[in-house]
Point group: C2
Chain length 183, copies 2
Protein backbone atom coordinates (compact mmCIF):
# COMPACT_ATOMS: atom_id res chain seq x y z
CA UNK A 1 0.00 0.00 0.00
CA UNK A 2 2.79 2.39 0.99
CA UNK A 3 4.79 1.46 -2.14
CA UNK A 4 1.79 2.24 -4.31
CA UNK A 5 1.43 5.69 -2.71
CA UNK A 6 5.12 6.50 -3.32
CA UNK A 7 4.76 5.37 -6.96
CA UNK A 8 1.73 7.65 -7.44
CA UNK A 9 3.53 10.62 -5.85
CA UNK A 10 6.65 9.86 -7.93
CA UNK A 11 4.60 9.77 -11.17
CA UNK A 12 2.90 13.03 -10.19
CA UNK A 13 6.23 14.78 -9.64
CA UNK A 14 7.62 13.42 -12.92
CA UNK A 15 4.52 14.68 -14.77
CA UNK A 16 4.98 18.16 -13.20
CA UNK A 17 8.65 18.25 -14.27
CA UNK A 18 7.74 17.18 -17.84
CA UNK A 19 4.95 19.79 -18.03
CA UNK A 20 7.25 22.55 -16.75
CA UNK A 21 9.97 21.67 -19.24
CA UNK A 22 7.61 21.44 -22.21
CA UNK A 23 6.05 24.79 -21.15
CA UNK A 24 9.42 26.46 -21.67
CA UNK A 25 9.82 24.98 -25.15
CA UNK A 26 8.48 26.11 -28.50
CA UNK A 27 5.28 24.07 -28.40
CA UNK A 28 3.32 25.39 -25.46
CA UNK A 29 4.30 28.94 -24.72
CA UNK A 30 1.07 30.54 -25.97
CA UNK A 31 -2.51 29.33 -26.48
CA UNK A 32 -2.53 31.34 -29.72
CA UNK A 33 0.60 29.88 -31.34
CA UNK A 34 1.01 26.36 -32.72
CA UNK A 35 4.29 24.48 -32.89
CA UNK A 36 5.05 25.86 -36.37
CA UNK A 37 4.61 29.47 -35.26
CA UNK A 38 1.16 29.96 -36.80
CA UNK A 39 -0.81 32.55 -34.84
CA UNK A 40 -4.57 32.43 -34.20
CA UNK A 41 -6.92 35.11 -32.91
CA UNK A 42 -8.06 35.10 -29.26
CA UNK A 43 -11.81 35.03 -28.67
CA UNK A 44 -13.76 36.99 -26.04
CA UNK A 45 -10.87 39.35 -25.31
CA UNK A 46 -13.26 42.31 -24.98
CA UNK A 47 -14.93 40.72 -21.95
CA UNK A 48 -12.11 38.55 -20.56
CA UNK A 49 -9.01 40.74 -21.00
CA UNK A 50 -7.98 44.11 -19.62
CA UNK A 51 -8.30 47.35 -21.60
CA UNK A 52 -4.89 48.98 -22.06
CA UNK A 53 -6.26 52.07 -23.75
CA UNK A 54 -7.82 53.37 -26.96
CA UNK A 55 -6.75 55.80 -29.65
CA UNK A 56 -8.20 57.26 -32.79
CA UNK A 57 -6.98 58.17 -36.25
CA UNK A 58 -10.04 60.06 -37.52
CA UNK A 59 -9.09 60.66 -41.17
CA UNK A 60 -9.91 57.92 -43.66
CA UNK A 61 -6.96 59.16 -45.72
CA UNK A 62 -4.48 58.15 -43.03
CA UNK A 63 -2.82 54.73 -42.96
CA UNK A 64 -4.03 53.80 -39.48
CA UNK A 65 -7.56 55.21 -39.88
CA UNK A 66 -9.95 53.88 -37.26
CA UNK A 67 -10.94 53.68 -33.63
CA UNK A 68 -8.38 51.40 -31.94
CA UNK A 69 -9.21 49.49 -28.72
CA UNK A 70 -6.25 47.61 -27.22
CA UNK A 71 -6.33 44.72 -24.71
CA UNK A 72 -4.02 42.27 -22.91
CA UNK A 73 -4.60 39.56 -20.33
CA UNK A 74 -4.69 40.38 -16.62
CA UNK A 75 -1.51 38.28 -16.09
CA UNK A 76 0.30 40.31 -18.76
CA UNK A 77 -0.70 43.62 -17.14
CA UNK A 78 0.35 42.42 -13.68
CA UNK A 79 3.74 41.27 -14.99
CA UNK A 80 4.25 44.55 -16.87
CA UNK A 81 3.31 46.66 -13.85
CA UNK A 82 5.75 44.62 -11.70
CA UNK A 83 8.71 44.45 -14.11
CA UNK A 84 8.17 47.14 -16.76
CA UNK A 85 8.43 44.46 -19.45
CA UNK A 86 6.06 42.26 -21.42
CA UNK A 87 6.44 38.66 -20.18
CA UNK A 88 7.17 35.74 -22.51
CA UNK A 89 3.92 34.67 -24.20
CA UNK A 90 2.19 38.01 -23.57
CA UNK A 91 -0.52 38.73 -26.14
CA UNK A 92 -1.59 42.27 -27.03
CA UNK A 93 -4.58 42.62 -29.35
CA UNK A 94 -5.75 45.77 -31.12
CA UNK A 95 -9.29 45.89 -32.46
CA UNK A 96 -9.76 48.46 -35.20
CA UNK A 97 -13.24 49.78 -35.90
CA UNK A 98 -14.69 52.44 -38.17
CA UNK A 99 -15.02 55.94 -36.70
CA UNK A 100 -18.59 57.15 -36.14
CA UNK A 101 -18.95 60.90 -35.59
CA UNK A 102 -21.97 62.97 -34.65
CA UNK A 103 -22.77 66.19 -32.79
CA UNK A 104 -24.37 65.07 -29.53
CA UNK A 105 -25.43 66.98 -26.41
CA UNK A 106 -21.83 67.19 -25.14
CA UNK A 107 -20.27 68.32 -28.44
CA UNK A 108 -18.86 66.69 -31.58
CA UNK A 109 -18.27 63.11 -30.55
CA UNK A 110 -16.50 60.15 -32.17
CA UNK A 111 -16.86 56.50 -31.15
CA UNK A 112 -16.12 53.00 -32.41
CA UNK A 113 -18.35 51.59 -35.16
CA UNK A 114 -18.03 48.21 -36.88
CA UNK A 115 -14.95 46.00 -36.70
CA UNK A 116 -12.55 46.42 -39.62
CA UNK A 117 -9.60 44.25 -38.49
CA UNK A 118 -7.47 43.06 -35.59
CA UNK A 119 -3.71 43.22 -34.99
CA UNK A 120 -2.15 40.79 -32.53
CA UNK A 121 1.38 40.70 -31.06
CA UNK A 122 2.74 37.71 -29.11
CA UNK A 123 5.86 38.26 -27.00
CA UNK A 124 8.62 35.73 -27.72
CA UNK A 125 11.64 36.10 -25.46
CA UNK A 126 13.38 32.99 -26.81
CA UNK A 127 13.41 33.57 -30.58
CA UNK A 128 11.53 30.33 -31.13
CA UNK A 129 10.66 30.89 -34.80
CA UNK A 130 13.78 32.49 -36.23
CA UNK A 131 13.08 31.97 -39.93
CA UNK A 132 9.34 32.55 -39.79
CA UNK A 133 8.22 35.70 -41.69
CA UNK A 134 5.68 36.59 -38.94
CA UNK A 135 8.27 36.49 -36.16
CA UNK A 136 11.06 38.86 -35.22
CA UNK A 137 12.25 41.65 -32.94
CA UNK A 138 11.03 39.60 -29.98
CA UNK A 139 7.43 39.38 -31.15
CA UNK A 140 5.06 37.36 -33.30
CA UNK A 141 2.99 39.62 -35.57
CA UNK A 142 -0.51 38.88 -36.86
CA UNK A 143 -3.40 40.56 -38.60
CA UNK A 144 -6.93 39.19 -39.00
CA UNK A 145 -9.99 40.31 -40.92
CA UNK A 146 -13.61 39.70 -39.86
CA UNK A 147 -14.17 37.26 -42.75
CA UNK A 148 -13.94 34.24 -40.42
CA UNK A 149 -11.00 32.77 -42.33
CA UNK A 150 -8.95 33.01 -39.14
CA UNK A 151 -5.85 33.35 -41.27
CA UNK A 152 -2.91 35.52 -40.20
CA UNK A 153 -2.53 38.01 -43.06
CA UNK A 154 0.97 39.17 -42.08
CA UNK A 155 3.25 37.85 -44.83
CA UNK A 156 6.38 39.67 -43.72
CA UNK A 157 6.34 41.50 -40.39
CA UNK A 158 9.16 43.79 -41.54
CA UNK A 159 7.05 45.21 -44.35
CA UNK A 160 3.59 44.80 -42.83
CA UNK A 161 4.19 45.91 -39.22
CA UNK A 162 7.54 47.52 -38.44
CA UNK A 163 6.81 50.74 -40.34
CA UNK A 164 4.42 51.83 -37.61
CA UNK A 165 6.16 50.09 -34.69
CA UNK A 166 9.81 51.08 -35.15
CA UNK A 167 9.20 54.56 -33.67
CA UNK A 168 8.25 52.73 -30.43
CA UNK A 169 11.42 50.59 -30.42
CA UNK A 170 12.54 51.96 -27.03
CA UNK A 171 9.37 50.64 -25.39
CA UNK A 172 9.64 47.19 -27.01
CA UNK A 173 7.71 48.24 -30.14
CA UNK A 174 4.53 49.10 -28.21
CA UNK A 175 3.41 52.74 -28.10
CA UNK A 176 2.84 52.69 -24.35
CA UNK A 177 2.17 56.44 -24.19
CA UNK A 178 -1.31 55.64 -25.55
CA UNK A 179 -2.09 53.10 -22.80
CA UNK A 180 -3.03 54.60 -19.42
CA UNK A 181 -3.25 51.13 -17.84
CA UNK A 182 0.51 50.62 -18.44
CA UNK A 183 1.66 54.11 -17.47
CA UNK B 1 -24.16 12.34 14.93
CA UNK B 2 -27.02 12.53 12.41
CA UNK B 3 -28.78 15.24 14.49
CA UNK B 4 -25.60 17.32 14.47
CA UNK B 5 -25.38 17.08 10.67
CA UNK B 6 -29.00 18.20 10.27
CA UNK B 7 -28.37 21.15 12.63
CA UNK B 8 -25.32 22.22 10.59
CA UNK B 9 -27.26 21.98 7.29
CA UNK B 10 -30.18 23.88 8.87
CA UNK B 11 -27.90 26.69 10.07
CA UNK B 12 -26.29 26.84 6.63
CA UNK B 13 -29.68 27.21 4.90
CA UNK B 14 -30.79 29.88 7.41
CA UNK B 15 -27.58 31.82 6.79
CA UNK B 16 -28.17 31.65 3.03
CA UNK B 17 -31.75 32.95 3.43
CA UNK B 18 -30.57 35.82 5.69
CA UNK B 19 -27.79 36.75 3.24
CA UNK B 20 -30.20 36.72 0.29
CA UNK B 21 -32.74 38.90 2.09
CA UNK B 22 -30.18 41.42 3.31
CA UNK B 23 -28.73 41.63 -0.22
CA UNK B 24 -32.13 42.79 -1.51
CA UNK B 25 -32.43 45.60 1.06
CA UNK B 26 -31.30 49.22 0.86
CA UNK B 27 -28.13 48.70 2.87
CA UNK B 28 -26.18 46.20 0.85
CA UNK B 29 -27.15 46.47 -2.78
CA UNK B 30 -23.87 48.04 -3.92
CA UNK B 31 -20.33 48.13 -2.51
CA UNK B 32 -20.17 51.78 -3.62
CA UNK B 33 -23.33 53.05 -1.86
CA UNK B 34 -23.80 53.49 1.89
CA UNK B 35 -27.13 53.24 3.68
CA UNK B 36 -27.79 56.98 3.24
CA UNK B 37 -27.27 56.82 -0.54
CA UNK B 38 -23.78 58.35 -0.54
CA UNK B 39 -21.78 57.06 -3.52
CA UNK B 40 -18.04 56.34 -3.48
CA UNK B 41 -15.65 55.72 -6.37
CA UNK B 42 -14.58 52.15 -7.26
CA UNK B 43 -10.83 51.48 -7.25
CA UNK B 44 -8.89 49.39 -9.80
CA UNK B 45 -11.73 49.36 -12.32
CA UNK B 46 -9.27 49.74 -15.21
CA UNK B 47 -7.71 46.35 -14.43
CA UNK B 48 -10.61 44.53 -12.74
CA UNK B 49 -13.63 45.61 -14.81
CA UNK B 50 -14.61 45.16 -18.45
CA UNK B 51 -14.16 47.90 -21.06
CA UNK B 52 -17.52 48.85 -22.59
CA UNK B 53 -16.03 51.24 -25.11
CA UNK B 54 -14.39 54.63 -25.50
CA UNK B 55 -15.33 57.88 -27.17
CA UNK B 56 -13.77 61.25 -27.74
CA UNK B 57 -14.91 64.87 -27.77
CA UNK B 58 -11.77 66.50 -29.20
CA UNK B 59 -12.62 70.21 -28.86
CA UNK B 60 -11.83 71.89 -25.56
CA UNK B 61 -14.70 74.28 -26.28
CA UNK B 62 -17.27 71.50 -26.04
CA UNK B 63 -19.03 70.58 -22.79
CA UNK B 64 -17.91 66.95 -22.77
CA UNK B 65 -14.33 67.60 -23.97
CA UNK B 66 -12.03 64.66 -23.30
CA UNK B 67 -11.13 61.07 -24.02
CA UNK B 68 -13.77 58.93 -22.30
CA UNK B 69 -13.05 55.30 -21.26
CA UNK B 70 -16.10 53.44 -19.89
CA UNK B 71 -16.13 50.27 -17.75
CA UNK B 72 -18.55 47.97 -15.90
CA UNK B 73 -18.08 44.76 -13.92
CA UNK B 74 -18.05 41.38 -15.68
CA UNK B 75 -21.29 40.42 -13.85
CA UNK B 76 -23.00 43.57 -15.17
CA UNK B 77 -21.95 42.82 -18.76
CA UNK B 78 -23.09 39.20 -18.52
CA UNK B 79 -26.48 40.26 -17.14
CA UNK B 80 -26.86 42.93 -19.84
CA UNK B 81 -25.94 40.52 -22.63
CA UNK B 82 -28.47 38.00 -21.26
CA UNK B 83 -31.38 40.36 -20.53
CA UNK B 84 -30.72 43.58 -22.45
CA UNK B 85 -31.00 45.51 -19.17
CA UNK B 86 -28.66 46.79 -16.49
CA UNK B 87 -29.15 44.67 -13.34
CA UNK B 88 -29.91 46.18 -9.93
CA UNK B 89 -26.66 47.45 -8.40
CA UNK B 90 -24.86 47.67 -11.76
CA UNK B 91 -22.07 50.26 -11.73
CA UNK B 92 -20.89 52.01 -14.90
CA UNK B 93 -17.85 54.27 -14.58
CA UNK B 94 -16.58 56.76 -17.13
CA UNK B 95 -13.00 57.98 -16.83
CA UNK B 96 -12.41 61.29 -18.60
CA UNK B 97 -8.88 62.20 -19.63
CA UNK B 98 -7.32 65.04 -21.57
CA UNK B 99 -6.92 64.52 -25.33
CA UNK B 100 -3.34 64.17 -26.56
CA UNK B 101 -2.89 64.61 -30.31
CA UNK B 102 0.17 64.14 -32.50
CA UNK B 103 1.00 63.17 -36.07
CA UNK B 104 2.51 59.67 -35.79
CA UNK B 105 3.57 57.12 -38.41
CA UNK B 106 -0.06 56.05 -39.01
CA UNK B 107 -1.52 59.55 -39.30
CA UNK B 108 -2.90 62.21 -36.96
CA UNK B 109 -3.61 60.30 -33.75
CA UNK B 110 -5.42 61.18 -30.53
CA UNK B 111 -5.18 59.24 -27.26
CA UNK B 112 -5.99 59.58 -23.57
CA UNK B 113 -3.74 61.83 -21.46
CA UNK B 114 -4.12 62.64 -17.76
CA UNK B 115 -7.26 61.97 -15.73
CA UNK B 116 -9.59 64.96 -15.43
CA UNK B 117 -12.62 63.40 -13.69
CA UNK B 118 -14.83 60.34 -13.32
CA UNK B 119 -18.59 59.89 -13.72
CA UNK B 120 -20.26 56.92 -12.03
CA UNK B 121 -23.82 55.59 -12.39
CA UNK B 122 -25.30 52.97 -10.03
CA UNK B 123 -28.45 51.16 -11.17
CA UNK B 124 -31.26 51.25 -8.61
CA UNK B 125 -34.31 49.25 -9.61
CA UNK B 126 -36.12 49.80 -6.29
CA UNK B 127 -36.03 53.58 -5.88
CA UNK B 128 -34.23 53.24 -2.56
CA UNK B 129 -33.28 56.91 -2.14
CA UNK B 130 -36.33 58.78 -3.40
CA UNK B 131 -35.56 62.20 -1.95
CA UNK B 132 -31.82 62.13 -2.45
CA UNK B 133 -30.59 64.74 -4.97
CA UNK B 134 -28.08 62.26 -6.48
CA UNK B 135 -30.71 59.58 -7.15
CA UNK B 136 -33.48 59.38 -9.73
CA UNK B 137 -34.62 57.91 -13.06
CA UNK B 138 -33.52 54.50 -11.80
CA UNK B 139 -29.90 55.47 -11.21
CA UNK B 140 -27.56 56.99 -8.66
CA UNK B 141 -25.37 59.69 -10.23
CA UNK B 142 -21.88 60.67 -9.11
CA UNK B 143 -18.90 62.70 -10.23
CA UNK B 144 -15.41 62.64 -8.73
CA UNK B 145 -12.28 64.71 -9.25
CA UNK B 146 -8.70 63.44 -8.87
CA UNK B 147 -8.14 65.59 -5.75
CA UNK B 148 -8.51 62.57 -3.45
CA UNK B 149 -11.43 64.11 -1.59
CA UNK B 150 -13.54 61.14 -2.70
CA UNK B 151 -16.60 63.38 -2.53
CA UNK B 152 -19.50 62.98 -4.95
CA UNK B 153 -19.76 66.39 -6.64
CA UNK B 154 -23.25 65.82 -8.08
CA UNK B 155 -25.50 68.21 -6.15
CA UNK B 156 -28.60 67.67 -8.26
CA UNK B 157 -28.58 64.93 -10.87
CA UNK B 158 -31.31 66.70 -12.86
CA UNK B 159 -29.12 69.72 -13.45
CA UNK B 160 -25.69 68.07 -13.37
CA UNK B 161 -26.34 64.87 -15.39
CA UNK B 162 -29.66 64.63 -17.22
CA UNK B 163 -28.81 67.27 -19.83
CA UNK B 164 -26.43 64.84 -21.53
CA UNK B 165 -28.27 61.62 -20.63
CA UNK B 166 -31.89 62.41 -21.55
CA UNK B 167 -31.23 61.87 -25.29
CA UNK B 168 -30.39 58.22 -24.32
CA UNK B 169 -33.61 57.76 -22.31
CA UNK B 170 -34.77 54.88 -24.54
CA UNK B 171 -31.66 52.87 -23.61
CA UNK B 172 -31.99 53.55 -19.87
CA UNK B 173 -29.98 56.80 -20.04
CA UNK B 174 -26.82 55.07 -21.31
CA UNK B 175 -25.59 55.87 -24.83
CA UNK B 176 -25.10 52.21 -25.73
CA UNK B 177 -24.33 53.01 -29.37
CA UNK B 178 -20.86 54.03 -28.19
CA UNK B 179 -20.21 50.70 -26.42
CA UNK B 180 -19.28 47.79 -28.72
CA UNK B 181 -19.19 45.37 -25.77
CA UNK B 182 -22.93 45.90 -25.20
CA UNK B 183 -24.01 45.89 -28.84
Amino acid sequence: MRGKKITVIGCGLLLMVVMTLSGAGAENFSSYVDEDGSISKPLDFRTDWVHLGSWIVPSENDKQYGFHDVYASQATIEAYQRTGQFPDGAAVIREIRSVETSTLSGGQTSWAGDVESWYLMIKDREERFEDHPSWGQGWGWARFMPDDSGQNLVEDYRQDCLGCHVPARKTDFVNIQGYPTLR
